[in-house]
């Protein structure tokens, strides 16, 4: 569908053990925009994000990618298209390079070294290729996690408070690098955050969640008020 948004949800709902985590969420992220999901801790932001790449299964409702119901897309293809940067970097034992190329390695695909170096350079990780992942600072580890997601070549990225666990300086660095790569790679993003300033700086439109429900939607400046 040519005019369909890259990502849209319809009545997305998830209930676990009788508890409603996400209730009837209908959102739409436009091409190349950063769509913000704003809310306090426990409002359902991460639960919503996990439904968008189908890491969890919706109880009701669905997600559309370019107009196609994501249940009709093979999960591995879907997750290559919709990248995910978790709140904690969760790097595996090994070098920075091994972590960044983990996606293609898991699939048994060849790795383009030139692309790897270029991406690391863009994320301020030039020369980090052989460094052990467990020797990185929090900010460096998070940048490796972002590189790992981008190396998989997604159209959409889901950002789960990527700077929340970092100190202010590292968080600002991650934020500015993120803004740069979003532009450079013409990506559509869904950013989950509880930080109103960050949401204003990075996002264009969004929703505010409370108790798993959308309580307000529209321009970011109105959503985070």
């Amino acid at each position: 569908m040519p005019d369909a948004p890259p990502l849209a949800t319809r009545n997305l709902t998830r209930v676990v053990d009788g508890q409603t985590l996400i209730a009837d969420v209908t959102i739409e992220a436009r091409a190349e925009e950063v769509f913000v999901v704003f809310g306090a801790s426990g409002s359902g932001k991460t639960s919503l994000l996990r439904l968008l790449n189908r890491l969890d299964e919706p109880t009701r409702g669905t997600v559309f990618l370019d107009g196609t119901d994501y249940r009709d897309i093979e999960p591995r293809t879907l997750r290559r298209r919709v990248g995910w940067v978790p709140q904690q970097p969760t790097l595996v034992a090994g070098t920075v390079a091994e972590n960044v190329v983990w996606g293609p390695k898991l699939r048994g695909e060849p790795v383009d070294d030139g692309r790897l170096h270029k991406l690391l350079d863009r994320l301020g990780l030039s020369g980090f290729e052989e460094r052990a992942a467990d020797r990185l600072s929090g900010g460096e580890a998070q940048r490796v996690a972002i590189a790992r997601t981008l190396f998989n070549d997604p159209n959409i990225v889901l950002l789960d408070e990527p700077a929340a666990s970092l100190d202010a300086e590292a968080a600002d660095r991650v934020e500015s690098l993120l803004a740069g790569v979003m532009d450079a790679y013409a990506l559509t993003a869904v950013l989950v955050t509880h930080d109103a300033d960050r949401a204003r700086r990075l996002g264009q439109r969004g929703v505010r969640l409370e108790g798993g429900q959308v309580v307000q939607g529209g321009a970011v400046k109105t959503v985070v008020k």
């Binding site: 790449n53 189908r54 890491l55 969890d56 299964e57 249940r71 999960p75 591995r76 293809t77 879907l78 997750r79 290559r80 990248g83 995910w84 978790p86 904690q88 969760t90 595996v92 983990w102 996606g103 898991l106 699939r107 048994g108 790992r148 997601t149 998989n152």
Partner: protein, 268 residues
């Protein structure tokens, strides 16, 4: 059958055994007294365990005495009953893993079953109840222990490394590749005791079968060879069981939409 049991009980060797039990009980009572004097507060538990162990093992002796009189075809049923019991015990280690009962039953049956059938065919186990039941139980019990260790470790891996596994799945990794290192860890951990036993066989540890055969007057070299056969059977059955459990569990912990199930999802 009752007459056979009575014959076993009235055998003069049983009286001799009871005298030996009396001597061993005196030694055990010493431990209980020492425990009391030193305030270890273990005397109650030690006494109960001692009496319980005696009753259980004599009961088993009586049951085996009866079993030795039944036709050979019963061996299959007896061994299957043992697999059932082994499954029941082992599944508790993997509580919360999807399909843990079915997986354990299948893995122990195939792992232990294949070894018992092959070694009976090869002549290492006599096709008699007297031989099939005790040797089979040894193989099944060890397959159970190894299965329990594999399940226990796998459960820990899936809980502790959940984030890592989900990152792999979120990168579009095939579940088999994403889970490979965790399944491997589970199999390796489960085989550590039997591998260590094989390494120490003979010089740190003279196992029960060999000790029993030597005490029974058997040629020590043959006893050693037969003990090695037993250890190899345990290793083969345990390895097969553990690998099968990890293979089957690897499929069950992932949903059709390639999501990692949470503990308790997907039945037991």
């Amino acid at each position: 059958m009752l007459q056979d049991t009575l014959n076993h009980v009235q055998d003069p060797v049983v009286l001799e055994g009871l005298t030996q039990v009396g001597a061993a009980t005196v030694l055990a009572a010493l431990v209980v007294i020492l425990s009391r004097q030193r305030g270890l507060e273990l005397e109650s538990e030690l006494s109960v365990a001692f009496v319980r162990g005696f009753v259980q093992v004599v009961a088993v002796g009586l049951v085996i005495g009866v079993l030795l009189t039944v036709p050979m075809a019963w061996s299959t049923l007896i061994l299957l009953g043992m697999v059932g019991g082994a499954t029941w015990i082992s599944r508790q280690r993997g509580e919360g893993l999807p399909g843990v009962t079915q997986v354990s039953f299948l893995a122990i049956t195939v792992g232990a079953g294949l070894v018992i059938v092959t070694m009976t065919w090869a002549g290492a186990i006599e096709p008699t109840v007297r031989s099939l039941v005790p040797v089979g139980s040894l193989v099944i019990a060890n397959a159970m222990k190894i299965n329990s260790l594999a399940l226990d470790r796998l459960k820990d891996e899936l809980q502790d490394k959940r984030d890592e596994i989900e990152v792999g799945l979120a990168l579009g990794g095939p579940p088999r590749a994403v889970l490979a290192r965790h399944l491997r860890t589970s199999v390796q951990a489960s085989l550590i005791p039997v591998v260590d036993s094989l390494k120490s066989l003979g010089w740190v540890w003279i196992p029960g079968v060999m000790a029993g055969m030597i005490l029974g007057g058997e040629n020590p070299v043959y006893a050693a060879l037969y003990q090695f056969v037993i250890m190899a059977m345990i290793f083969a059955a345990g390895g097969l069981t553990s690998m099968l459990t990890s293979l089957l569990m690897g499929r069950r912990v992932i949903t059709e939409a390639e999501q990692l199930r949470r503990a308790g999802d997907g039945g037991s």
